[in-house]
């Protein structure tokens, strides 16, 4: 066997044809039956074709053996998105009585190069389920590693939420969200996870118990980056349907005022005030003045609240022209409800 070419990175070795490997003796490779159109003989990677031809053979004969397991490993390494291979691997694992911990290790290897692969994550979950609550900390650690490379990986977040609910491990989750948000306060996935934790964690007391401290947390993030969509939505979500509480929490409109006064990145501050006005909020003079001072053209005296809403929508139409139609609609809504 030729020595591996070191320049090609981890996992690449000179390919030993399966036809010359003793463990695959007696297997007749089956090529893919592709249906319509003449087969055009174009050369492609021998290792790939051979692996898949051998896979098809063992799969169609339903051989649930150690060499089948090896073959699925090879097939997955060349084509990790082939769901039939994963499916067959699971059948083999069940038949052979697998070492589930070892299998977790296998998926970790695959994940290194294919972190956005549906089949991988589904397989990982299936294995973790076999291990039960004991697997919780390893699963949380695994997703944590994935987030180090891509903190918004949707599959990993979905997996992590499942782990928490099915296997446990909530204790450090809020801290973990805080850590991720420290690294990137614009990480919408982390904000979503934070909401998930405060509403569903069995050890935190639920949304009502957490609301107060979370309002402060969100507002701090807002002041650091008022253009950040996520904490604004998070803040609104803390009140959910409780409009009275939302209206009466002075921290909310104070936060909006502070952003307006800075005269930069005030889009979400204005839209939040617009929402509040729509629910009956009575702004003080300071807020009215702050809005007025943002107007770039003379729109007349800001008299009644509907004029104020009108002003806000006009400002936003200029500030955010891509969504001009949306702000025009908001303006219509505001005047029709006054």
């Amino acid at each position: 066997m030729a020595s591996s070419s070191s320049s090609e990175g981890e996992g690449r070795r000179a390919w030993v044809p399966l036809a010359s490997r003793p463990e695959f003796a007696g297997v007749t490779p089956l090529p893919q039956d592709d249906g319509p159109s003449p087969v055009v003989a174009i050369a492609y990677r021998d290792d790939f074709r051979e692996t898949m031809d051998y896979f098809r053979s063992l799969y169609s004969s339903r051989e649930l053996s150690p060499r089948s397991l090896l073959l699925t490993s090879l097939a997955i390494s060349v084509n990790p998105a082939n769901y039939t291979v994963w499916h067959f691997r699971r059948q083999v694992l069940e038949a052979l009585g697998a070492d589930w911990t070892e299998e977790l290790g296998f998926t970790e290897g695959v994940a290194k190069r294919n972190a956005k692969n549906y089949q991988l994550w589904h397989h990982r979950r299936w294995v973790a389920e076999k291990l039960g609550p004991d697997a919780a900390s390893r699963e949380l650690e695994f997703t944590r590693k994935i987030f180090c490379l891509d903190a918004k990986n949707y599959h990993a977040w979905s997996h992590r939420q499942w782990v928490l609910q099915a296997l446990g491990g909530w204790e450090d989750e809020l801290d973990y969200c805080a850590q991720l948000l420290e690294e990137d306060v614009f990480n919408n996935s982390a904000w979503n996870q934070r909401y998930f934790v405060i509403t569903k964690s069995p050890s935190l007391g639920g949304l009502n118990a957490m609301r107060d401290s979370e309002v402060d947390y969100a507002i701090e993030a807002i002041h650091a980056n008022p253009e950040n969509e996520s904490p604004w939505r998070y803040l609104r979500g803390l009140y959910n349907d409780e409009n009275e509480a939302w209206l009466n929490d002075s921290r909310v409109h104070s936060a909006c005022l502070r952003v307006l006064k800075a005269k930069r990145n005030f889009k979400f501050a204005l839209s939040t005030l617009l929402d509040l006005l729509g629910l009956g909020f009575k702004p003080n003079q300071e807020i009215k003045d702050a809005i007025t001072s943002l107007r770039t053209s003379d729109l007349g005296e800001a008299g009644s609240d509907s004029d104020l809403a009108n002003s806000i929508c006009s400002i936003l139409g200029l500030e955010d022209p891509m969504r001009a139609n949306y702000w025009t609609w908001r303006k219509q809504q505001a005047s029709s409800s006054s």
Binding site: Q32, V39, V40, I42, Y44, H87, Y154, W157, N188, N192
Partner: protein, 316 residues
């Protein structure tokens, strides 16, 4: 502004469909059924479905059917609800739904519904609102929605609604444009759009439009042509499409074309693929770009095909 090089895209799609043995096509052979749906739907939208041999394709599709009634991604592959929908959709394109044993397919899809109303993708049990949409779309095309518990299915989808008005893959999952399309589409087909706060969701969706005019799938992510479909489609289903800047979006999609070799990519200057070609063309269809047939937002099939399914033979 550039223009749609429709003929180049047709050539590109046909060349991909013809490719049988090169590395890329073998890599994708397990999802050939999806590829067939993307490629053939795009051809139909560009008015060129007649350039392919429907008989060949139909007979290949039927060879992909499993004894359970579900379809695999290719011959010899295991069944999955996703490939089952693609198979049904392609048959619908060719007006060949009558080759199906409707009971058989229906039985497979309906069997994937769980106690809580959710759907798994196959017998291995992975749950995701994508599968709810797929099941509902598929059974609706087959006119067998009564084979599932629609009320429970809707209830599950609604449980995946988030405080920002969007939907995730499972309850509590982050709002994501792809998942939103699935949930809104499923609710549209089942006549359940009243569960959506259209103003709130519409705003979240229109906030996906970034400076370049393209659309992203979540806050602070990069734009991608496929979101031209998922975001725009969702906006159309809730009557809020005018909240984005359509001209800018058209420009973005056109910039994602490979004007030399044909095909559309995820964003400008990346490599084209059939998936993004379909979603780019479909997005232009929703934007009423001239020369592109109208597409139905809920079924993701040309409007004339959907009309044919539900209202019988009509003029094309």
């Amino acid at each position: 502004m550039g223009e749609l090089v429709g003929n180049k895209h047709v050539e590109y799609i046909l060349s991909v469909e013809r490719r049988k043995d090169d590395f890329l096509s073998v890599l994708m052979d397990h999802l050939r059924m999806n590829g067939a749906y993307w490629g053939l739907s795009a051809l139909d939208l560009l008015g060129k479905l007649d350039t392919v041999d429907s008989e060949d394709i139909v007979s290949w599709i039927m060879k992909c059917q499993h004894e359970s009634g579900g379809f695999g991604g290719n011959i010899g592959h295991d069944p999955h609800v996703h490939y089952t929908l693609s198979a049904v959709q392609v048959l619908a394109l060719f007006d060949k739904l009558d080759v199906l044993d409707i009971d058989k397919v229906t039985g497979y899809v309906a069997s994937l519904q769980k106690e809580d109303g959710s759907f798994s993708g196959d017998t291995w049990g992975e749950v995701d609102t994508r599968f709810s949409y797929i099941a509902i779309c598929c059974l609706s095309i087959l006119k067998r929605l009564d084979s599932m518990d629609v009320e429970k299915a809707v209830k599950y989808i609604v449980s995946c609604k988030n405080m920002d008005g969007g939907f995730g893959c499972t309850p509590g999952g982050e709002s994501h444009a792809g998942q939103i399309f699935c949930c809104v589409g499923a609710l549209a087909i089942t006549g359940s759009l009243h569960h959506i706060d259209k103003d709130l969701l519409g705003w979240w969706l229109c906030e996906r439009q970034v400076k370049s005019g393209g659309l992203n799938g979540r806050p602070e992510k990069l734009p991608d042509v496929c979101y031209s479909w998922w975001v725009l489609c969702s906006l159309i289903m809730i009557d809020r499409a005018h909240w984005i800047d359509k001209e800018k979006l058209i420009k973005f999609i056109l910039n994602c074309q490979d004007t030399e070799n044909g095909g559309i990519s995820d964003r400008p200057d990346d490599a084209a693929d059939v998936y993004h070609t379909f979603f780019g063309v479909a997005g232009l269809s929703l934007l009423e770009y001239p020369g592109v047939k109208a597409i139905d937002p809920a079924y993701a099939l040309p409007v004339n095909v959907v009309n044919r399914i539900f209202f019988g033979r009509c003029s094309t």
